[in-house]
Symmetry: C2
Subunit: 193 residues, 2 copies
DNA sequence: CTACTGTGCGACATCAGTGTCGCATATTGA
DNA sequence: TCAATATGCGACACTGATGTCGCACAGTAG
């Protein structure tokens, strides 16, 4: 579907995807990981990685593209242009939590995006997020005094923090979404009722 | 004062500190930066780095220790055990923003802390932060339904996001503290007045 | 069952980064 | 001013990671 090599067999496609997922996952946690590390995580031989990707740079670039697509799809499936802004924001948080590894990989080190990926003017996550935020601000649901891009970055930061909590076993995948949403909406101050 | 080599001359001390600061700053933004990159940022020759640190590992370890100390000092100067919890939290945010590079260096890649630094049970930033959060929760100022450690991570995440905004020139150092505090306290939802 | 595709294995060459070294020069402190 | 300290420079050796290659075997599709 999204693979540039759509004439690939199912077997090759699966191997390629396993390598890309492993690359994002391993590099998200250790930027200096070797090709051997990635191959191990993908459960293939190092030479197999070379059969799919010309070199290390090629692999990382492909992993960046793949991650951008995975995040884009997850965000699209959240359908944030529909429904009340607060509900849509909650679906957005879930969508991001579902692609936690890719987010950590893409944004954990700004060098990755600068060297391998989309250039700054093109925002990897699509404008619909900013649209949602602006819609919510117009509706009086989101704080109009906060810059929409800042809100977007806050969202990512909290999702990121949530993913790390889950990774460390300090929070369940089930409870993290609620906690992230609660903190995103209310902050840490006790909300007067 | 805190340098293990207190018999060092002022010149040597200054050179050592320049290298450590450059290490934290450069590695915060590019985990795979070389010793040559760090030396360039410190405005010394690469061989000079070797005169101060046995090898790359030694330098990174020293940079971790130095960063932990710098953050600890900044947090200590915030005097968060004094005054109302909300005020103390604001000073804490400022304290963290003041050591932004070190935070990005230490926590931008979990591998750094795991391999070079303090082990998990010893929390690099001191317990007083958790004490402050619990104090605020007891006083009804902070949300008692949020885990104190989660609140601490949220604080770091937002500080981190703020530092990146400043780095990208999208926010001034002056306004970032207010924005971080506002978002930390209120979240993104419009707060009813 | 067979032919084709895909992969593991391991050896080998290359290369970027690191670590070492000695010398000349710059800087600093007495 | 001079001696001691600090540093830049660049050459060189070493090391780990990468990239290439060919062969044998595993897996898959017809």
């Amino acid at each position: 579907m999204d693979s540039p090599r759509t004439t690939e067999t199912g077997t090759r496609n699966r191997t390629r995807r396993a390598i890309l997922r492993a690359a994002a996952s391993v590099l998200a946690r250790q930027r200096t990981a070797t090709l051997a590390d990635i191959a191990r995580a993908a459960e293939v031989n190092r030479s197999t990685v070379h059969r799919y990707f010309a070199d290390r740079d090629d692999l990382i670039r492909a992993a960046v593209d793949d991650s951008v697509e995975a995040i884009g799809r997850s965000v699209e499936e959240a359908g944030i242009h529909e429904g009340p802004a607060a509900e849509a924001m909650r679906r957005l948080v879930l969508a991001h939590l579902n692609v936690g590894d890719r987010l950590m990989f893409l944004f954990g080190d700004r060098h990755t995006m600068r060297r391998y990926g989309v250039v700054e003017p093109e925002k990897p996550p699509p404008d619909p997020m900013i649209d949602l935020i602006e819609r919510g601000q117009a509706d009086g649901v989101f704080d109009p005094d906060l810059d929409p891009q800042w809100i977007q970055h806050v969202l990512w930061s909290l999702v990121y923090a949530g993913i790390e909590e889950v990774d460390r076993g300090r929070m369940s995948r089930h409870s993290v979404a609620a906690t992230v949403v609660r903190t995103l909406e209310n902050g840490i101050r006790t909300r007067p009722r």
